[in-house]
Symmetry: C4
Subunit: 318 residues, 4 copies
């Protein structure tokens, strides 16, 4: 896709990543570690259907199932009332005498109609009840199938589950040092053509005004063919790196934050997936080396993802 051919600014220099350029303060972060954004949007007034699908697809399972259940009960209550408003008996075989018994008859008749079970021991009598029943069974079919579509949509939604090491480290790298973090594919499938974009942001003062600056970090390798086990992403700290000559204390003082955007093709869902995360300065360990988590047992190679965050402290070349 050739959109950005006319982009005048060089990639490394740009000022904004869609977060605005207000300086951070009080330790707030742009991206939370789970990839969600740390900004409130006021005046967002989308239409109903625009967001309802999004909410239904992303809410927790418990909430979703409770919602379905509530909707089922409320619908039955609603139609039960409609049946009870019938002038005579609403159904053959509805034998209840007390108000409660009548209500229960109507409620269970509604349930039998909305699910299209239709045992038939009770069956609608009169035009009014028949119209209500015909309408209810129609809405029942649409409603249930829609709930099912959502159920399936929730299951089949591709979500990359990339596990990031809890800490980023600065480790010896070639003759110098490198900023590194490690990630792994937390799902059983393979991720194909996985790419990383890593951005450092920090507070600076420009024209006496505190401003947030953003720098894309050069990577030793920004793309690999497969993410089946783990991948250590390395930004070499050379004299072109924005980390050059900075101490850990400098990074903390500047409220430095490293945001990560991963992009891959998910093999089981056949779709592009993204994952986001971030490290704040206090989640960095300067002078460390990730432990080797690859091994071999009975001639079968393995990787131990429990130890993804494992590192040992080492001296850095000065």
């Amino acid at each position: 896709m050739a959109f950005n051919r006319n982009n005048r600014q060089k990639e490394e220099e740009f000022k904004d990543l869609g977060f605005g350029t207000n300086a951070s303060s009080g330790g707030s972060r742009l991206l939370n570690q789970d990839g969600s954004f740390n900004i409130e949007r006021r005046g967002l007034n989308d239409g109903f259907t625009n967001n309802i699908y999004h909410s239904l697809i992303t809410m927790t399972w418990t909430k979703f199932l409770v919602l379905v259940m509530i909707f089922y009960i409320v619908s039955n209550l609603f139609f039960a009332c409609l049946y009870l408003m019938s002038s005579g008996s609403f159904a053959d075989g509805a034998t209840g005498n007390t108000m409660l018994e009548k209500f229960l008859d109507a409620f269970f008749f509604s349930a039998q109609t909305i699910t299209t079970v239709g045992y038939g021991k009770m069956s609608p009598v009169g035009i009014y009840s028949n119209v209500v029943a015909a309408t209810e069974s129609m809405f029942g079919l649409l409603g249930f199938a829609f709930a099912t579509g959502l159920l399936y949509g929730r299951f089949s939604r591709p979500v990359a589950k990339i596990i990031y090491s809890q800490h980023a480290i600065v480790a010896p790298y070639k003759d110098s040092t490198g900023f590194m973090f490690r990630l792994a594919n937390g799902r059983k499938n393979a991720l194909i053509e996985i790419e990383a974009q890593v951005v450092l942001s920090y507070n600076t003062v420009i024209n006496d005004k505190p401003t947030r600056t953003f720098k894309i970090l050069d990577l030793e390798r920004a793309k690999i063919n497969f993410l089946f086990s783990s991948w250590t992403i390395v930004h070499p700290i050379d004299n072109e790196s924005p980390f050059y000559k900075l101490t850990h204390k400098d990074l903390v003082d500047m409220e430095a934050e490293i945001t990560i955007l991963m992009k891959a093709f998910d093999d089981s869902f056949s779709q592009i997936v993204y994952s986001r995360s971030s490290y704040k300065a206090h989640e960095m360990v300067v002078g460390a080396k990730f432990a080797n988590i690859h091994g071999k047992e009975n001639n079968m190679p393995f990787v131990d993802l429990h130890r993804l965050d494992e590192f040992e402290l080492v001296d850095l070349p000065s």
Copy 2:
């Protein structure tokens, strides 16, 4: 994708964006602000199924639900007639005597069959009625599930809802000026890797023939990683810009129009989405500055989208 490697013409010079090159007149526009096209296509004669899905998916909700309801009623009328054409009684338990009662029996029996409720108080009698009922229940299942598929398809269709500032402005930018407009993500999700392509078109006279000319505008930044809050798109008006030396009156006289194509990855639908819009010359304000809509409250950053179009008039550097 490497299709356009053999593209001889430089991107900035091309003449046509798929709109033809007839000059505009009378203030008509190429793209409406909602992104729809302003041209009539005659002789478009697609097949039935090609467009029916498209129509069903994009019509309003009211229209869609009324259509489902009508289809349900018409189907029941149709099958009711078939039942009534039975030589004897079409069903056990159909007790109607008058013509109207018979029709109502047939209609409600049809509704019970098409939704597969099948209470059974009425049940088909004889080969003819049984064949009709078996056929109806089959078509009922297919038809309802199809309606449901559409229902779900309508909900799950990814639609980028990008809000554009109502006005584009020419504002001070670096040592000179820039053409700017502002946009925001109107939905609750995040848009990832969002790109802009902005094209200026205006009337010119080439070889004594009024012609519409198209120029892609260079942008300060044509792509950002996330559109979570707002983004101000800037075209620097330097000596390479087609706006260079033009006054607002020139733009109005040339029937200038700026068309916008946005492209992004929608995080909740996992799909690429596009958005289109346009500004005519009279929707531009020359000499203005967008208001700052970012702020912080209780250490939580916010952005106020109500004020997306807010600007103040300023003097431009001469």
Copy 3:
């Protein structure tokens, strides 16, 4: 997508487009005008499920609906036989006496079970019939919903319907001539970011062996933002063009064929779509000019797609 960076051969020089390099003869073509391939594949032995979906999704609507109907009838015949194999009566309320009546009872009972109408006038008796009925209703639900999925899949499958002019022409172009054809979007939606790749193939003799040679044609413009109305694709015939100095007779003698691959983003289906077509030498008109099909009525621009293929004969610059 960065796959082809290591491609040593220049794009213009390659020999094969996936068609093999055997010379054509007797006027056969590589691609038919509807985009299908003109080669038989022997020894293709895919598994069952690999292709059944593909067939069900692409067959004609008539064939599809007949197939569903046949499947419904055959399933009912099958289960009817199972019910008839019951030792006693398979169902309460099955009152048939003759063999035919018994069969009809079983057949209609099966239909009522497979669609889950379950009127209940007939209901299964005994373990055997109950097990068959429980199994049938389960398979019925799965089967119908699957048919519905297919129905919906057929409707929602994105198919670009690009209309090509029936003839390609060689027309005056700038100071020289150009090879041109015209296309339009035959559906009501918009195609976005549409790209063309055009390849000329012809018979040559290499090392005394007749061989098919393939050349990608340079285009004046290989990509436009929108295909809403029509687009004339132009290959300038300059001294780098493989058409240079060739007459129409040469092209016919060499069995020249121009194959076209179009790629676009379909706005209503939110997916990438492709379209293929081809022109043989005898479908080319040398010395012609496409008619202008854009106009304006009541200040509303229009394009007349009926006249897509309309051209007038003109003299070419020598």
Copy 4:
């Protein structure tokens, strides 16, 4: 997508393809010929829903159908028990006297409810049974529709079925030799814009430590427009090739493995698909030439895929 512009290392030099850099031994391979990975991942602890969909979509058909059947039976057993726990009779028309008969009544009543057949000969009595039945029919609808969604999802999942020649060969190529293998599209559809990436890996000793090295192989042509019949992928063995001067025995000793990643657009599913495979050194034939499998019969070109792996031994230029 412009992610990897800041990639400092040249493509050909990188060390890791997501497999780690431990040396291979004992003939183990990185990729199996069917494209699956040859590494065990320990500590992978995904959530339940993350993987259940993936498993259900990719298991064999037999396993899937058995699972559906088991789920159906277990659900009916569960609800049968609930009905039997009713204080009185759970249903009108449940006439069983012995424990077994009562159980069978409850089981079949459950089946009639969960599928929503609801014949009605048995129908629930009392609040308890009615509540259980209303709940069961609701879960039945959701459950079946979900099973159906999976069924459809399994059918409609795009899977490229690319057939690879069983052997890779080193054949005469131009003035020198080339590493070649052949592949074909094993499904009836067309694959569009198909690309190959081929990587050689082998054991080396770096700093006294046995290490796995990876080299991307340059290809004569890395992308073709269509894969309709077959494609021979060629890596020219020139002095820049990692194969240069190596004998077959060297390759076996170094445990050389060639891994292949193919990417294409699947025309019938309208999606990007990938395919993986690999050749170990012992699956290579040095000094061979693939047989011609294209031909023509009755003026109709054909390709014989049965003979995809057919080759004849030849002398190589020294």
